[in-house]
Assembly symmetry: C6
Homo-oligomer: 276 residues x 6
């Protein structure tokens, strides 16, 4: 588990350095592509479904490349001030405090905007000069242009399955990024991940991965999503901690997946057939 230190006032970027090497199991050539794009300082977009490992890849690359990682979860109520910074007031008047994006730009961190499609227009537009030849961040409130540190790169993620809903990335934003498509790991890789993260043995991990795949097949028929790797790890963790397998699968897989009684019955039947 990788956990940042609490903030040290001496250098605020240090709070964003990873303390331990994250465990990462490559699915394909995504790490090499990321590294090559980083060497050319090209902006990177990670495309893929919920829980397929986008955050984990970015943590792995930040560790491997030796850069701090500033992660910002985008949402529609986030303002430009949340990203860039703001003036605060103390007894001597106002002083400026850099926001997380500005920190990353000044100190050469990798800045990861998670689910960028959720951001408002002012955020999307603010990153344009950081993703072309200009490589600077204008801070309107200070009349300052912050030239990006040579090691800075912007990484964004989005889930194409959500894109067809209300929001979409404009072409003028989208064509600023090299894009890496990510999918579910294959069964063998996923079992390794489940075992590693939960402490469960390999046989149980393989069984849970098979269960996960059957929920995905079932769910697809109803246009929903099946169990993510995360949920399989939850179930494995509970079983490894002594819980009955069917109870663990009920609360960590079946109930999180759906509120529909028929679908839950179908998922439960699958669980029962595997852990009779």
């Amino acid at each position: 588990m990788t956990r940042p230190h609490a903030m040290d006032n001496a250098s605020p970027i240090d709070a964003w350095r990873l303390a331990h090497a994250p465990w990462y199991r490559p699915a394909s050539d995504e790490a090499e592509c990321f590294a090559a794009a980083y060497r050319a300082r090209l902006p990177i977009m990670l495309k893929g479904p919920t829980g397929c490992g986008k955050t984990r890849l970015v943590e792995h690359m930040a560790w491997t490349l030796g850069r701090p990682l500033v992660t910002i979860a985008c949402h529609e109520d986030m303002t430009a001030g949340d990203l860039v910074g703001r003036y605060l007031l103390d007894g001597n008047g106002t002083y400026w405090q850099d926001g997380p994006l500005t920190l990353a730009v000044r100190h050469g961190a990798i800045c990861y905007l998670d689910e960028v499609v959720e951001a408002r227009n002012d955020t999307t537009v603010a990153i344009h000069p950081l993703t072309d030849a200009r490589r600077f961040l204008p801070i309107d409130k200070r009349n300052e242009l912050v030239a990006a540190h040579p090691d800075f790169v912007l990484v964004v993620s989005f889930n194409p399955q959500y894109q067809h809903r209300s929001k979409d990335l404009k072409t003028s934003t989208r064509q600023r990024f090299v894009a890496l498509e990510m999918g579910w790991p294959d069964a063998r890789a996923e079992a390794e991940i489940v075992a590693h993260e939960s402490g469960a043995d390999a046989a149980l991990a393989r069984q849970l991965v098979e269960l996960g795949e059957r929920t995905r097949t079932l769910a697809a028929a109803t246009l929903q999503e099946g169990a993510s790797t995360r949920l399989l790890i939850y179930a494995a963790t509970l079983i490894a901690g002594g819980m009955d397998a069917r109870t663990a699968c009920r609360i960590a897989i079946v109930q999180p997946l759906s509120d529909d009684a028929d679908l839950c019955t179908a998922f439960t039947a699958v669980v029962d057939s595997m852990f009779a």
Copy 2:
């Protein structure tokens, strides 16, 4: 009745410690499942209808596990500042005040977000790093990453019957939680609860529970909800205090349930048949 102390400036978390053991009557294995998930520090989601006892379960577990309980009722006008904290001003300039979520994260409380589906996107997104391997809370306004206390766990609730309306939990949020489904207690358990909470005798409690079930059957036919356990307790309390049973049922059960004249007449007929 469990009531927190008023806030003590010495340690603001103490206001959120329960003063007395809450009375709790288990319906199934929900307490064991909650405890196991807590031991693994997995985030927990409670699913169930209005008044089925979700808040009571969380209070029971907080008492049993010896943790403070910070309860936050979610709504669409709640801002991230309401959760995380804000700068206040005194004669020496601004100073920071932790919000209730930050308090819980720093001090290892159980943080309970009631009706999480009502929250805005910025709230839902703010809890993501608290519910995966990162376990930290970013405070953008301070450029601080608060590492969660080892005893901290996030609990959320939602009512699946409301979910099909305008709001829904995104899959990327939902699959971060172990889920416990809760329903109405059975008749015997409900009668015990009504008697315990109201001070009424067992016979009256059983009679009111039967009345409650008949309102639920009637209401279901009109796509509405029947009397919650809370309303049965209200009626029992009034009768125990000396009120005529039919009057108590009229003001504590029939009138709160509906404004529709026909439905009220039907409910009243049921009351009359039971308390002739």
Copy 3:
């Protein structure tokens, strides 16, 4: 007429004490039911049409029970700060000022939220912990939990005829209250009220009440409301002050009721037939 004193800084709740006993004429058992619910400290909801006497009942009960009465008219622009309080600034920095709800909670007043269905979600949610076993008011901005004074009770009102429009009370809110249904007083009671409030003699009051009932019959046919008791009192007051009865009915009853020329003609014909 009951009128609060202007605010006395020594104890801000004193501004909300009634100075005189309000005149109240019971319609049914509403006062007994209110008193019994208050003795058990159950939250109370008053249901009924415009001007049927909900405010008057609450004033009567506050006087009878010897409690201050804090009345808050709900509307969709009211913020939680308007209810709970806010920080103000003076030469020494910010200081906290309780809002009217907090005042009532601390000092054991009856707090009356008029037309609660008009309030925003943050208001509706803020009252949840005050209407269950917890009986406290969380003040997020201060990290304070205010335990309710033992004499505090919350009373809300709403008009079921408006409910079917755009807004509705959620079941999880509604089932927190004992509900008293109120309707128009009968003709004899209404005539007593009109005579008492206007100073008019009993014969005129009876005549105006009959006029009021005929407008209600007429209006119902066009899906509108007829004259409230208040308008009858206005007409009686003007006549008692020397105005011609037909002029008084024109400006106090016909014109306030409608802008539709045909409907006004019909109302006028009724007036003319009674005050020829």
Copy 4:
């Protein structure tokens, strides 16, 4: 012409006293009805079309009754703070400044809310306790209840022709007022007004009034409004100042009435036939 003095700091209400008796020509019994309602301190609603003299009536009554007149034009961007008051900041911290409604309530002015139907809900609700037996204004921000001065009365206006659009007065607001319906003055009265206000002679005034009536007939056929008395006064003023009558009617009557070429041609033909 009645014009208030500029504000005198010694007594802010003095700015709202009328300096000269306004010229007023009664159309019917509206002044007597207004005076009787004022004597009983009943709230008053003036109903009528654009420019029929509602503002002029209120000014006349304020002068006759010897009260200051605080006029507030309602609109949907007006906040409760604009009406009630707000805290301002100087070197010693914040101090309170009464808004115009509060001024009127404290000092016994007539407060006139023009086009009340345009106001937001918080405004409409704020006036409820001023228009029933309570007669006080709650100032939430100060926890103050301002008891109304015995001479205070609230007057509102609205135009029933606009009411069917997007906005409407709720019955619970509307039935708080005695209502005076006002219409256009008859031809003879209107000619007197035009002559008095413009300085034109009686013959020209009568001619313009006839022109005005013909535009109203024409306009009604196209669901629009004809020339108000104000526009007739404009034309008379320009002619009295030396302008050619047809030019004056073109710029003061035809062009203000419509942008539709056909309608303007029709209006012009009427002008030409009268001022050949």
Copy 5:
């Protein structure tokens, strides 16, 4: 070219005095009508299409009448504070700064609200007492009524072609103004304007005016607008500066007029036929 001086603190209105006589070529009797309305201090509305010379007329009249001219472009994000003024903060607390409308009212300027139909309701309503017998501006935030300087007059403009879209002037606002309808100058007048403004010779100016008229005919068939006089001046300026006539017409007339390929081809064919 008429350009205001930069602001002089001694008298802020001086920034709004015209430094040079603007060049103005009358199209009809609009200047005489404006002057007569100004003499009677009647509010003036200028109606006409984009670029027909409304702003130029107002500048000409302000110069001729010797008044400062305060021009305010209306838009839907403009607040009443932008017009009327606001409190600012310095070391001694807050102080008041007049907005441009207040400046004009106090100092007897002509205040010109350009495209008034774009303004929000609070703006439209704020000008009502300035456009009737009252002639004052209420400043709610200061409880001040500013009596208008005797030389003050309000002028507004709007484009009837836009009016049928989402916005419209309410009759109660519209009938407060004398209205001057303005249209395109005739060919001879337009050629004089083009020659004067661009420095081009008369033959070229006439040719461009003919081109402009042909674009208007073409555009009308597609429900769009043709070249304004401004664009003709642009083309003449570029040609007078040495640019090839067809290139100048392409970038100053064809491309600004439309993005539609077919329409641009048609416009280009017209250009080519005239400047072969």
Copy 6:
């Protein structure tokens, strides 16, 4: 690569001076037209699709003309304060800070509003007096009129392909600009650009340009956009850095272009046929 210096407090405009001559390859006569319009100080509009080189042209002209370049990306959340400036607070009270537009106006920079159609009305209206004979910027908050420096010119861009969506430029804004239409460079020019920017050899650049054109043909059939020159440069950069050509085209061209599986397959087939 042209990168501005970080801000120097001595002269804030210096941060916006270009440090190096940008590389620019003219496509047609756009540079001459821009220069001629600048000599006449006419406002300039650049029309063209995503990534066709509008920003690059403006940088080239700013360098050639020796002017600072202030670039502002427009979006719907940008306020007038972001453009014009705002008051900030220090120990001595508030002081004024020019926004980027004001800086450009005072110091004679070229001000480039990118994607002006995204701006709100208050922005669009604020630039009107800067784009006609007045040439000043009103700063309402200071009651200041800033006369434009003689070298100041405003340049805006917009993409006609987006215009038919929800937003459009009003004619009264659009006809204030000379317009330069820009399109994709021809194949030879584009190959030169790709080679220059990526360091790839000419043969690879030509091959990628051919690939780019084939994606545009394919994409047009599905109403989408094909690869911009920027994406071709990305691919060339990665290949020049040692990456396999098919991998580089997958992540720099295919994946950024679309999330549609069928379309990606078609693009991939094109890539495979060219880099077998």
